[in-house]
């Protein structure tokens, strides 16, 4: 009976295919951190409220703490550590460095993945809560960035520099 509570799961993380048998209760975040040693996504609140566990899941930003790993067999996952390449940082990560978009850095991998996903959403023309005209492509001003990044909290309150970094990366 106990074997019914475990499942073999394959995920593709930062370009590497990983296979592991997990307890069905395992969240995607715990799979990454505890079973695969992928520690870029951070466990903050563990309830979907802080955004520090954000990754790109099948190309879109998502919290990993409220997803069961077993429900994401064969998923493509890119963490903050998998952005960019060996020789250069991803432009969003570089912009966070250039603008001091962090202090302690704990929320930063989630912030960066969220910003990368968010910029794709803007590029696709998706409106936000503060977009005035629903049918026009949004202009990425400060209000838009703040609204679209509201799922990522920063206890150090580095928000002004995070907004500046995202402006820079969006150019």
């Amino acid at each position: 009976m106990e074997s019914a509570h475990f499942t073999q799961v394959t995920v593709h993380v930062d370009g590497e295919t990983r296979q592991v048998e997990i307890d069905n209760r395992t969240t995607l975040l715990d799979l990454l951190r505890e079973h695969l040693g992928v520690t870029a996504p951070k466990k903050g609140c563990d309830h979907g409220q802080c955004g520090s566990c954000t990754v790109l899941l099948d190309g879109r930003r998502a919290t990993t703490c409220l997803s069961l790993a077993v429900a994401h067999d064969q998923a493509e996952i890119v963490t903050a550590a998998g952005l960019g390449d060996q020789t250069s940082l991803h432009p969003v990560a570089q912009a966070f460095l250039d603008h001091d978009g962090f202090q302690c850095g704990y929320c930063t991998p989630g912030q960066i993945c969220s910003a990368v996903g968010m910029l794709d959403e803007v590029k696709s023309g998706a409106p936000s809560h503060v977009t005035e005209h629903l049918e026009k492509s949004p202009d990425l001003d400060d209000d838009e960035i703040r609204e679209r990044m509201s799922g990522n909290l920063c206890r150090c309150a580095a928000y002004p520099n995070i907004v500046a970094a995202i402006h820079e990366a969006a150019r």
């Binding site: 106990e2 019914a4 509570h5 879109r60 409220l66 429900a71 509201s150 799922g151 990522n152």
Partner: protein
């Protein structure tokens, strides 16, 4: 969290049959509410049936002008859909006012409807709660009631349904399409969620084991203007203290049609029939809107500590209707 078995449903039929044989099973889609509640010890199951991979992710614009939204359509995709943005601004606005960008990428249409009606005490297993354990008592009485109901509550439960999407769909006369072992059925969304009454543990009238496959929304009325306004304690990523979904049709300054629903104020999305009735045939303007809001809220029974929500809802409703007259969307 209790150990559980996992089954990835291969079809709607497979999902429904599996759950019919296992009353202790639950459906999983985006997981943003269910997994949270499993972690908190609020939800328990022996079998998770994953319906998040079923082909229920299409948004179809049907010949009669209505919109059929698959149960697994992500909230983000529904909000960004061109037809939703152009023909149902109230729905796009409501979706965009809910949760965060990351969660909207996970959360589904059916999951949003089926998220639990809840309050802080429901989510804290160390406090008594009639919704979690019928008969245990309600911790909200004399407690923290800022997010609690002012309409339709019972002495057993005063929690609110936190969805924004469902408030807009309630105003738009949406139908919930579901499948059980007997086949496909439809339920008006206004009859889908329940008031707490004597059975606060029941959030909806969806039969046990039934699986939502789609939500259908009729074509918008000709000349309709609609929008959604949400009032909350912070600018973004917070539940509503109160919210208003409204659609108006006016001709030569007279209101020909009004559809209104309120959020954050009741155990279910609250269709404001009394306000609608008071608006019909009247001149569109502040006096009419105020009278309609007063008419609706005459039945409000606020709790000790959330009396402010009556006035807040009244002002929000009037401001939303005035905004529609000024062309806001």
């Amino acid at each position: 969290m209790n150990p559980f078995a996992y089954h990835r449903a291969t079809s709607v039929q497979d999902a429904v049959t599996t759950v019919a044989e296992r009353p202790d099973a639950v459906y999983l889609a985006g997981g943003t509410n269910l997994v949270d509640h499993m972690k908190l010890g609020v939800a328990e199951t022996a079998l998770v049936v994953d319906v998040g991979h079923l082909p229920l992710y299409d948004i179809d614009h049907l010949d009669d002008g209505s919109l059929r939204i698959g149960a697994d359509v992500r909230n983000a995709d529904l909000a960004a859909h061109p037809i939703v943005r152009s023909r149902y601004p109230v729905l796009a606005r409501a979706l965009l006012a809910g949760a965060s960008g990351q969660l909207r990428n996970l959360a589904t249409t059916a999951g949003n409807l089926l998220q639990r009606t809840r309050c802080v005490y429901f989510q804290d297993v160390t406090t008594p709660c009639n919704k979690r354990s019928p008969g245990q008592g309600c911790s909200a009485i004399g407690g923290y009631v800022r997010y609690h109901a002012i309409l339709g509550a019972s002495p057993h439960c005063m929690a609110t349904h936190p969805s924004d999407m469902a408030v807009a769909m309630t105003a738009l006369d949406a139908q919930v399409v579901y499948v059980d072992v007997d086949g496909e059925h439809r339920l008006p969304l206004t009859d889908f969620h329940r008031l707490p009454g004597e059975e606060p543990h029941r959030d909806t009238n969806l039969p046990a084991g039934a699986l939502i496959t789609a939500v259908e929304i009729p074509a918008p009325l000709d000349g309709a203007h609609s929008t959604y306004r949400k009032v909350r304690d912070r600018n973004s990523y917070a539940f509503a203290l109160t919210s208003v979904a409204a659609e108006l049709v006016t001709e030569d300054g007279t209101i020909n049609s009004a559809r209104i629903a309120l959020g954050g104020v009741a155990h279910k999305p609250w269709r404001a029939h009394r306000a609608e009735h008071a608006l019909l045939g009247q001149p569109a303007g502040e006096d009419t809107f105020t009278a309609a809001a007063d008419h609706e809220l005459a039945q409000a029974e606020p709790l000790e500590g959330n009396e402010f929500k009556v006035e807040l809802t009244r002002r929000t409703l009037v401001a939303t209707l005035l905004g529609l007259m000024e062309g806001h969307q």
